[in-house]
Symmetry: C2
Subunit: 422 residues, 2 copies
């Protein structure tokens, strides 16, 4: 008998009919002889509706209370899902994050899981129950206050529970069939990837592939929990995210896929005195403002002026904070001016095979150049190459790279359920 | 400095604007130098909407999961109320029933409070916070499952917290100005009662006055917590429910008020053998079916047949269960037939003064008879007289009794906010 942890997102439980269909799927897994723990998000737009309600009474609600409010969303979905399962004749019990032993730090709205002590889940499993656990939420170790985990929280809950329960697999149900070689909305011939390593998935998540959140994949890698990303709308095998793809059909693939990201912006600090420590001062300043930089490029210094330009990318949402911090420090740092561009995009080629295959970089740049797209910035890791281009060129560049590395499928395979509004 | 526990019902926090107004009232109480603990119900129709959602996935949802679902309602209202208070510049913290230490037995949907251990509330009060506590909910002592208290649950939460915290007063905010001498929708000249004793309030609650639930008054009497029932839509003094009205302006009133109840039905068991133990057998049977009987009348046995009729009233909602149980046992008990009437009503005259004032009963019956209303059943306690009449005669009988005991006000005083849909 295997222990399966399943996670269903908000679109999979959007209304009563969706909940009933998910319940049938869960019962089928149980009937196949598995112990089943289900992590569920809030139904459909519930979270947005609760945020709207909060905004109506307070423009800046206290984080503790916002967490208390938002966690009502999963409380509703998990109880309703447990009812739907009971209606099919199987015992089901719902548990809040706190009841399931999801212990976090005290950072409301973006809490980190410190520990998982799922004693009550284990007892309920031993009694033969299907366990439904609220995703996205926990309880703080010190103050015992209710916390939420922030973006990707429910996926992280599922993987953390799978690790604590020593589960055989963590199935992440979503509205697409798995992880694709590129976004099927851009590349019609994108293929589903049957197996991908944690490292590649991490690079893809960091490069804008939205299907799994970085934290969730990091957690899975640390505890070696196989993740199976699959569609809640079909029975097809999805994508397995595992420690190693050795022995699988994709072992010899050089490139796993092409990811893209439209959510970043670029800031250039113009005319920075080219002295030791100047760049460090800028990055210390931005770190102090809690800005996560992505790519950084320092131009070669102009001999005539002894000055240089420093460009970096960052989440577009953090732009104002970063620009304000830099402006305030202009006197101290002594740069000439700031330039800002939020019409950029990032394209990343990810593949464990590039470690041992020289020439990948040249081929990638060549394909993008041949498509008539200008590269503004470059950054690389051992298994990833990223370039920044103008946002309007993203589709062209992604398609060009996808074809150049023979990733195109013979047929249009991808079905993007997301396009239906789910 | 006084400690005030306030309870706001669902109609007082029906939407964001209502929540903001309640927040102002709470802050005013705090500013007046009091420590404030607020018990809040779910916003407006939230509970009904959650029940509808449950019905969509399961015709008979498990009680444990229904409680989990319904408690999301107060979670939302309490967090939003805390935000609204914070927006006015005061520290507010919300607590679930479990966090507030409301320990119950395990009867989902109708749990009883076993203990209240409000350590977290006390700490938060010491830190200067206003505490917002979810009404209607607790956590079961044995299984640590979330429970709900059933009808009148939020009022009971408020009184139980007031007792555990040794509060000076428990203010119950509602949509009317207080407790009236009769339902102002029936008796235009009904007066607000400034003071009433626990005993009288208990009799009124048991007789159909809906303003306070029986359990809540019982709890207040046991721990001697003064309850102040007042309107959340005005600043007027409401009705004080206290141990004794001695020394108050109403000390010498004989009658407190006239209550009525349309929610009961009458069953007559016709032709019961008039032998020792036959009636006991019927009542044992009904008790086994968990039917709470109210009034019981056994007719004088007819000499010719040696048989008698037994009539009793019960909540109309339990009628089918009772009739089924009796029908099944007809062979054992040996009665002739059953008669059923759900077009009845009960009118009760309540007043501590009737203990020492003979003639009250005669005057009450006289007033009803003079109004042309036939009395079907009678039951009395030391401070209450109740009669059953035809449902269509209720208004007439209530008005007649109200006038006969000089309860009519000189002016139309009552404002029934309930009539506005709240």
């Amino acid at each position: 008998m295997a222990l399966v942890v399943q996670k269903y997102g908000g679109s999979s439980v959007a209304d009563a009919d969706c909940v009933k269909r998910v319940a049938q799927r869960i019962v089928a897994t149980k009937k196949a002889g598995n112990d089943v723990v289900v992590v569920v998000s809030a139904m459909g737009d519930t979270t947005d509706e609760l945020i709207d309600l909060a905004q109506k009474v307070s423009p800046l609600p206290p984080a503790r209370e916002l967490d208390m409010l938002l966690t009502a969303g999963e409380r509703i979905s998990m109880a309703v899902l447990a009812m739907a399962i009971a209606n099919l004749g199987h015992e089901a019990k719902s548990f809040t994050g706190s009841q399931a032993g999801v212990i976090t730090d005290g950072s409301h709205g973006k809490a980190k899981i410190i520990d998982v002590t799922p004693g009550r889940i284990q007892s309920a499993l031993e009694d033969g129950s299907i366990c439904i656990v609220a995703g996205f939420q926990g309880v703080s170790q010190d103050s015992k206050d209710i916390t939420t985990l922030g973006r990707g929280g429910s996926d992280t809950t599922a993987v953390a529970l799978a690790a604590a329960l020593n589960a055989d697999v963590c199935e992440i149900y979503t509205d697409v069939d798995g992880v694709f070689t590129a976004d099927p909305r851009i590349v019609k011939k994108a293929r589903k990837i049957p197996f991908v390593s944690y490292e590649e998935m991490l690079e893809m998540a960091a490069s804008g592939a939205k299907i799994l959140h970085l934290r969730c994949v990091e957690y899975a890698r640390r505890y070696n929990i196989p993740i199976h990303v699959r569609s809640s709308f079909s029975q097809k095998e999805g994508t397995w995210v595992v420690a190693s793809t050795e022995g699988t059909e994709v072992e010899n693939a050089i490139i796993s896929g092409v990811a893209h990201d439209r959510s970043e912006a670029k800031i250039t600090v113009v005319g920075v005195p080219d002295k030791v420590g100047e760049a460090a001062g800028i990055f210390r300043l931005l770190a102090g403002a809690e800005i996560n930089l992505d790519m950084v490029v320092q131009n070669v210094s102009a001999v005539a002026t002894g000055k240089t330009d420093i460009s970096f990318t960052l989440p577009a949402a953090d732009s104002k904070t970063a620009l304000d911090a830099l402006n305030k420090a202009q006197g101290t740092i002594g740069f000439d001016s700031l330039r800002f561009d939020d019409r950029i995009g990032k394209i990343s080629l990810v593949g464990a095979g590039m470690r041992s295959h020289p020439g990948v970089t040249a081929k990638f740049f060549g394909a993008i150049a041949d498509a008539g797209v200008n590269i503004e910035m470059i950054s690389t890791s051992e298994i990833r190459i990223s370039v920044v281009v103008a946002q309007d060129d993203i589709d062209t560049a992604v398609q060009a790279a996808h074809s150049a590395f023979d990733l195109d499928s013979d047929q249009v395979e991808a079905v993007v359920y997301g396009g239906t509004g789910r």
